[in-house]
């Protein structure tokens, strides 16, 4: 290395970086890393996120990635907030610009008074400079080219090098980072060494040339009983704990990692220690039509079976979902929603499948839906899905989304009660069959309007013919209006009865609330944060997050008790509002929408602006 080669090309106004100039913000800021996908940035970004988590600080990481293998822009946003407000931030105190393609946009996104860190191996286009931000140049490529030989390693280590610079200027605990690298590269000495070296390059450079930033980290103890997990992993774990033995799927983003994780957990927990056999079967189907068919076939035979998919898969499954509904066969569908319609934006998030799932298939159909808000609820609701599917002998959808499913979330440790036993619903046993002369499939409904079923392979007296064609309450073929209606009317009553069994909505009441805010799924954190923001501008709001469909009495009451409810959701057509209007007694005019559906996770700012901007309009409307 020649002396002076790495002179900082930073455009640093010493006044801007001087700690005295600003109040120092601890554990309350957001930064964004702009990368090119396929260059290994994900592991560096994940390392930063995990290190902050281990420092005990509330944190979130949002991976905004393209539907592509290599070469397109990808961003990773990290927000730390000591109060636990970790929904997506829209203001970035720091942007690490590693992608020349997106410099212009990335520079623009730094908030006034914020910082930009870029690779100063190449000069920054002067017209990109901004007077109101500080620009920190680190010659990352130059340093890595100097220190690493292999081309691929040079690219990969640039990411670790900027992570090193961030360790210095944000005060990330170096011991924690070392510990993480030790764990990650246990048994891979050479890789561990390369990572240590790259980390040092960035760290030493930043320490030499830059002062720590006026926002930084300090250890806390908020994560003692928390874990860092993505929703798809938690969903898969829920399926294992629920006792699912048959899984059928067709690869589709963003649900694929559900099945990847399920396979991994099955390798760990479902290999019989004595025989070495697999106590489960995973079927990669030829398409989603087949995947749901396999789930239905397995459930018909009495196995707990599920599929994981996304919107396009649900579209294909519509045909057989109607069969399962009408023939009353359990099925569990994990829908990890992405942006539609059609192929849409496969790697972006949306809540666009509500109506599709609620009424999937032709004819009169209605399904049970569960809406988790985070990975902890994914685990809990995954188990619940199987209980409900078997209790009500019908398809149950759990609607997660890409944000919940593929991003790492800090959530309370998952708990398991060993006294849990699956609710297998009404299945006539071999002993019971001994006592009856004839089994009638769709008769003798219970208080929830569910009729008992039998399983193949038990007794010939139990046999019946399962069909999607018109059938009577004994299961016989019919085209007679009264006989047909008798069955479908019971199905409607059965669906209604499920309202008492789906998870209760989450309600938070605030004294002096003028309005209600209703939301769903992954909007949870942003909306809750927004409630405080709204209160600061004089708008007090009660909060309700629906967690299941059909809606129960508490949802009805909340809608009834508020003069206006703002329904916050992530789709263009206000699908939750439509569902509420259609399926509760709510007056349509009392519901207003806040809709954010561009594909990135919701921020509190969206909600505050969305509600505040409509308040005047609403008041005028009320007073007219």
């Amino acid at each position: 290395m020649q002396e002076g080669q790495y002179l900082p090309q930073s455009i640093v106004d010493p006044d801007v970086t001087s700690p005295e100039r600003k109040e120092i913000r601890i554990n309350d800021f957001a930064f964004k890393l702009a990368n090119v996908n396929g260059t290994g940035s994900a592991s560096a970004n994940g390392l930063l996120m995990q290190a902050i988590f281990r420092m005990g600080i509330p944190v979130s990481g949002k991976n905004l990635f393209p539907s592509n293998i290599q070469g397109l822009p990808t961003w990773y946003e990290i927000r730390v907030n000591k109060a636990g407000n970790t929904a997506r931030a829209l203001d970035y105190d720091l942007v690490v610009a590693m992608n020349g393609q997106t410099y212009e946009r990335d520079v623009r996104e730094v908030r006034a008074g914020g910082y930009l860190l870029y690779d100063s191996t190449w000069p920054l286009d002067p017209h990109l400079r901004r007077e109101d931000i500080a620009i920190l140049g680190v010659p990352l490529a130059a340093m890595c080219n100097e220190n690493f030989r292999e081309p691929r390693e040079r690219v990969l280590m640039k990411n670790i090098a900027y992570a090193g610079a961030l360790v210095a200027i944000l005060h990330i605990d170096m011991d924690v980072v070392e510990e993480l690298l030790d764990e990650k590269f246990a048994g891979k000495k050479a890789l561990r060494e390369s990572n240590r070296k790259a980390l040092r390059l960035g760290l030493d450079y930043a320490k030499e040339y830059f002062a720590p930033l006026p926002f930084r980290l300090e250890k806390m103890d908020a994560n003692r009983d928390k874990i860092l997990i993505d929703g798809n992993t938690a969903t898969a774990l829920g399926c294992v704990y629920a006792g699912a033995t048959v899984a059928a799927w067709y690869p589709i983003t963003p649900s694929t990692s559900v099945m990847d994780a399920f396979k991994e957990f099955c390798d760990k927990y479902r290999q019989d220690p004595e025989t070495g056999r697999n106590n489960c079967i995973i079927l990669q189907a030829e398409d989603e039509l087949a995947a749901i068919g396999m789930v239905i076939g397995a459930s018909w035979n009495g196995a707990r079976a599920f599929t994981s998919t996304s919107g396009p898969g649900i579209s294909l499954m519509n045909e057989l979902l109607g069969l399962a509904y009408y023939a009353e066969i359990p099925a569990v569908i994990m829908d990890i929603q992405r942006v539609g319609p059609s192929t849409g934006m496969p790697t972006r998030t949306q809540q666009g499948d509500l109506l599709e799932c609620a009424y999937a298939s032709h004819g009169d159909t209605k399904h049970i839906l569960l809406f988790p808000a985070n990975p902890a609820e994914c685990f809990e609701f995954a188990v619940k899905s199987f209980d409900l599917a078997e209790r009500f002998q019908t398809p149950v959808f759990m609607l997660s989304d890409l944000d919940i499913g593929m991003n790492d979330w800090v959530v309370p440790r998952l708990r398991w009660d060993d006294s849990y036993r699956p609710d297998r619903g009404r299945v006539v046993s071999a002993e019971e069959l001994e006592q009856i002369s004839q089994f009638l499939r769709y008769s003798n409904e219970d208080e929830n309007h569910v009729a008992a079923r039998t399983l193949p392979g038990v007794d010939s007296r139990a046999a019946y013919f399962t069909r999607g064609s018109g059938h009577t309450k004994t299961g016989a073929y019919t085209e007679i209006p009264e006989e047909y209606q008798e069955v479908v009317d019971r199905l409607a009553r059965k669906h209604k009865a499920a309202a008492k069994f789906v998870p209760e909505p989450l309600i938070v009441k605030r004294p002096g609330a003028q309005i209600g805010v209703v939301t769903i799924g992954g909007c949870d954190l942003a909306v809750r944060e927004a409630l405080d923001g709204l209160a600061r501008i004089g708008i007090e709001a009660d909060f309700l997050r629906v967690r299941g469909f059909p809606f129960g009495e508490s949802v009805e009451a909340f809608l009834r008790d508020h003069d206006v409810c703002f329904v916050v959701e992530q789709n263009r057509d206000a699908q939750l509002k439509v569902l509420l209007t259609n399926e509760t007694g709510a007056v349509k005019e009392k519901l207003r929408s806040v809709l954010v559906y561009g594909g990135f996770p919701l921020s509190a700012k969206h909600v505050i602006e969305g509600i505040a901007s409509q308040m005047g309009e609403w008041k005028n409307a009320v007073h007219q």
Partner: protein, 351 residues
């Protein structure tokens, strides 16, 4: 099939199988198909084959798609659960059912519309998985329930009832099966019960996917002059390429093996298919030879029938998946749930 339901009285002289059941115990409800439908003859052959095989009725699962053929599971073994699924979707339903409970004998009934058009992809993948099931295609070259459209198995030049000829090449399930690596392939004719019964019995013992294509004339829409799926045409053109005996497991038949130059194939359960009338150069375990033989006969306008190909060496879906040798549904929940302690331990990895 009877057009009136039979009395339930069982005549004492009726023969009983090893389970003490008569053939009547394997019948189903009354057929609603047209009088003379080939499908009803296949149903009768199935009843006979299952009775002779002495399968307990409750250990059979009947699966089908949609169409005339797919109605027929209601007409046999009323003591077995049946699943009349959606059009073309029987293979996925059967795959899932079999995945959950491998102990049942799966009998799938499909038609040429169900299997060769809307469900063609599913059929191909069930073959690839070597799903253990009997898969009967009741092949009449026509859509009956929608009143007479050509199906994908209609031969070039075959005429519809309106005298319009089909101009598109047919999909031949036997050639399809051979090219996809199907491990048991047979073709028969609904009117030839003597041949069909042993084929079905052998199919039920096969290690994996047993594809049985049965030409089954549609008396209403495809039994006229000019049709290549009519009774007349099939009777005239069908040639039994192989004559087979099905020899159940553990009999003393072993002594006869090899007689008259017969080719014997031992099935996975130890039973045996003995080929008698095979052509000199025919080896039902050699796929290439079978393929060229079929091509040659087909070019002469012959419809080749019999058990045409068997490979008992290929593992089925469960063997490929390393599952237990009993039904997954029999696993107690305690064996499936790792429990609270394991969850605590696992979560150390998520820190």
């Amino acid at each position: 099939m009877p057009s009136i339901s039979k009395p339930t009285v069982i005549h004492p002289s009726l023969r009983r199988n090893e389970l003490g059941l008569t053939v009547r115990d394997y019948e189903g409800s009354m057929s609603t198909l047209c009088a003379g439908c080939g499908h009803d003859s296949i149903t009768a052959a199935l009843v006979r084959a299952i009775w002779e095989s002495a399968l307990p009725p409750h250990m059979i699962a009947k699966v089908s798609g949609i169409g005339c053929s797919s109605k027929t599971p209601a007409y046999f073994v009323s003591g077995a659960h049946g699943f009349n699924a959606a059009h073309g979707r029987m293979p996925p339903i059967a795959t899932g059912a079999n995945a959950a409970n491998r102990e049942l004998t799966y009998i799938g009934i499909s038609g040429d519309g169900d299997s060769l058009s809307i469900g063609l992809g599913h059929l191909c993948h069930a073959i690839r998985r070597n799903l253990k099931m009997v898969y009967v295609i009741e092949n009449n070259g026509v859509y009956g329930l929608t009143k007479g459209q050509f199906s994908a198995s209609a031969d070039v030049g075959s005429k519809s009832k309106r005298k319009e000829p089909n101009r598109m090449a047919p999909i031949d399930p036997v050639a399809l099966g051979l090219s996809l690596g199907a491990t048991f392939i047979a073709r028969s004719f609904s009117g030839d019960k003597e041949q069909l019964v042993p084929i079905l019995k052998a199919a039920m013992t096969h290690r994996g996917f047993a594809l049985v294509d049965v030409l089954s004339p549609c008396v209403t829409f495809n039994d006229h002059e000019g049709s290549t799926k009519s009774y007349m045409h099939v009777r005239n053109q069908a040639r039994a390429a192989t004559e087979t005996d099905f020899i159940p497991e553990a009999s003393e038949i072993l002594a006869t093996i090899g007689q008259n130059g017969a080719v014997n194939v031992t099935m996975h359960d130890g039973s045996m298919v003995s080929f008698k009338g095979v052509p000199p150069d025919y080896d039902p375990t050699d796929r290439e030879k079978v393929f060229s033989f079929l091509q040659e006969r087909q070019s002469k306008g012959e419809i080749v029938t019999g058990i045409l190909y068997i490979d008992e060496t290929v593992p089925d879906l469960h063997e490929l998946s390393g599952t237990p040798n009993f039904a997954l549904t029999k696993l107690p929940y305690e064996k499936l749930c790792p429990g609270a302690a394991a969850l605590e331990e696992l979560q150390e990895e998520y820190r």
